[in-house]
């Protein structure tokens, strides 16, 4: 098990955002946290990243209990919902930031930035600023920035929410391919079942602060374990899709 969440509880002002959350993700897996808004999926992601602290329970990454470690020491790359690119830095500056903070040598930083710009096919756009980029390009930069310090685990919060429907499908395929190519264990949050079905190897369905079911897209579609899962996911449609 690469990431393990054990009996996680978290309340905000009496609201149970996480209510005994248990799940694990295997190394190299691409997992989706799928659920309606307010089901606690973003809270789970933020707790893994160390941006929020669970009230109780253990978070284990690569066999190390990370509860008391700050986010920056957990080896995590995080892609924010609106990307949170540094607006006063260039694309290259954004990607280099994490490496500069780690006091890497100039040559090393330059090499890594070039490598990542090539990975996201934006070699010529390194000098642009975030506001000069399209939504899809911004997402690619956010992805490269998160990968730059070679994290153990990549977390993506609603990575496609800020992109218009037309390019979304294209980007999904792109992101799935990229993650496979880099081979990094990744978890993304989404409320869009189609997105989860298409992109993820494993789906973790959340509802009201609980995990309803964990499984591959096939398992979730063919054998929904709770009424909620059967109701929330349009199983018939995906069963047809899977048969094709």
């Amino acid at each position: 098990m690469y990431l393990e969440m054990k009996h996680i509880y978290k309340t905000f002002d009496g609201f149970h955002a996480s209510n005994d959350v248990n799940f694990s993700v295997e190394k190299g897996d691409l997992a989706a946290l799928l659920g309606p808004s307010g089901s606690g999926k973003t809270t789970i992601l933020r707790m893994i990243a160390g941006l929020d602290t669970p009230d109780s329970g253990d978070i284990i990454i690569n066999n190390v209990k990370v509860n008391s470690l700050p986010g920056s020491k957990r080896g995590i790359g995080f892609v924010f919902q609106n990307y949170a690119l540094f607006r006063y830095m260039t694309v290259a500056g954004n990607i280099a930031f994490g490496l500069e903070v780690q006091k890497k040598s100039k040559a090393e930083i330059k090499e890594r930035v070039e490598e990542l710009l090539e990975l996201i096919s934006m070699q010529d756009l390194g000098k642009r600023y975030p506001h000069q980029l399209s939504g899809g390009q911004r997402q690619r930069v956010a992805f490269a920035r998160a990968l730059a310090p070679n994290p153990l685990l990549l977390l993506l919060d609603e990575p496609f929410a800020a992109i218009d429907a037309k390019v979304r499908r294209e980007l999904r395929t792109w992101l799935k391919e990229m993650i496979a190519r880099v081979g990094i264990t990744s978890i993304f949050v989404t409320h869009d079942q189609e997105e989860a079905m298409e992109v993820a190897d494993t789906i973790i369905v959340t509802n009201q602060g609980r995990v309803e079911q964990i499984g591959t897209p096939e398992e979730i579609c063919l054998h929904p374990q709770t009424d909620f899962v059967a109701d929330f996911i349009d199983t018939k449609r995906y069963q047809a899709m899977l048969l094709q």
């Binding site: 160390g50 986010g71 920056s72 995080f78 949170a84 607006r87 310090p149």
Partner: protein
């Protein structure tokens, strides 16, 4: 007709930020709208003339009434120069203190949630709502001979009231919300995402502030500093209560103007006023340059 309208719109774009109004009211739409526009312009122009331009003309005419020699004599008078020095000292101190305070306070209130946030924000606004004279009295009652800390200060031979420290304190008090108020909305609009992203990459607080937060707030900060400077230089009420009006020692420019005027030395009073007017115009130019740069 159409071309004229676009031209007018473009001019407004260059001029200032009121062009959004032009989009709503088409100036050529009806005769009535046309008339309304000119009536409103006349009212504004008349008001500004009576309240602003006329007094300025009076200042200049009176300052130069006895000729250039009398003017320069009043301006370069020993006490005037000392008053100008004290005004600048109080202004620079107040701006320095309030810039640091304003940055800290606005950062705190925009990035952290805690009990009493609203209360703190309201407290910072007190100098906006309180009379400066009351502000001056507060310091007399705290640091004066009969005040709370009077005995302590006397024992340690520290003089605050009727001395330069009191004037600086009063100026700081009256101007401390300016930088804070300019920064808070800008910091609120920025959100926390970029800073969280930087923190997750291992950046420390100071690095985050210098590389993420500061580039975002620098124009607002400069604007706040300019407003703070303008207010600090012109402060009269609070400083008047705390000064003791010792010529050459605790007299600021506005106080010096009053003293000269009360001595029926009208020409000198207006001449010294003209220094404040010139400083105000410089600040106004700085303000407009910053506003233009910000866009």
């Amino acid at each position: 007709m159409k071309k004229e309208a676009t031209q007018e719109y473009e001019q407004d774009l260059v001029g200032d930020g009121i062009n959004s109004i032009q989009k709503v009211i088409d100036p050529h739409k009806t005769e009535a709208a046309h008339a309304t526009k000119y009536v409103l312009i006349s009212v504004c122009a008349f008001f500004l003339f009576v309240m602003l331009v006329l007094p300025l003309i009076v200042v200049v005419i009176n300052a130069l009434r006895d000729g250039w020699a009398a003017y320069t004599e009043a301006v370069f008078d020993e006490y005037t120069v000392k008053a100008l020095q004290l005004t600048l000292l109080a202004t620079v101190s107040a701006v320095a203190v309030n810039t640091v305070f304003g940055v800290f306070a606005s950062y705190l209130l925009s990035k952290f949630y805690f009990r009493g946030r609203q209360l703190l924000s309201a407290l910072i606004d007190i100098p906006f709502s309180i009379s400066p004279v009351i502000a001056g009295l507060i310091f007399i009652l705290t640091f004066g001979n009969v005040g709370w800390m009077g005995d302590f200060l006397k024992a340690h031979n520290i003089k605050i009231v009727f001395a330069v420290p009191g004037i600086i304190l009063a100026t700081i008090f009256v101007t401390f919300p300016f930088v804070f108020r300019e920064l808070l909305p800008v910091l609120n609009a920025q959100g926390k995402d970029e800073e969280e992203a930087a923190a997750l990459m291992g950046a420390k607080g100071f690095t985050i502030f210098c590389r993420i937060t500061f580039p975002h707030i620098k124009w607002a900060l400069l604007y706040g500093i300019v407003l703070c400077t303008a207010r600090a230089m012109g402060e009269f009420g609070a400083v008047s209560v705390l000064s003791g009006h010792l010529r050459g020692k605790t007299n600021t420019l506005p106080l010096h103007v009053e003293i000269l005027y009360n001595e029926f030395n009208t020409t000198a009073a207006f001449a010294v006023s003209s220094i404040l007017v010139i400083l105000a115009i410089l600040i106004l130019i700085a303000r407009n340059l910053i506003e233009w740069k910000r866009k």
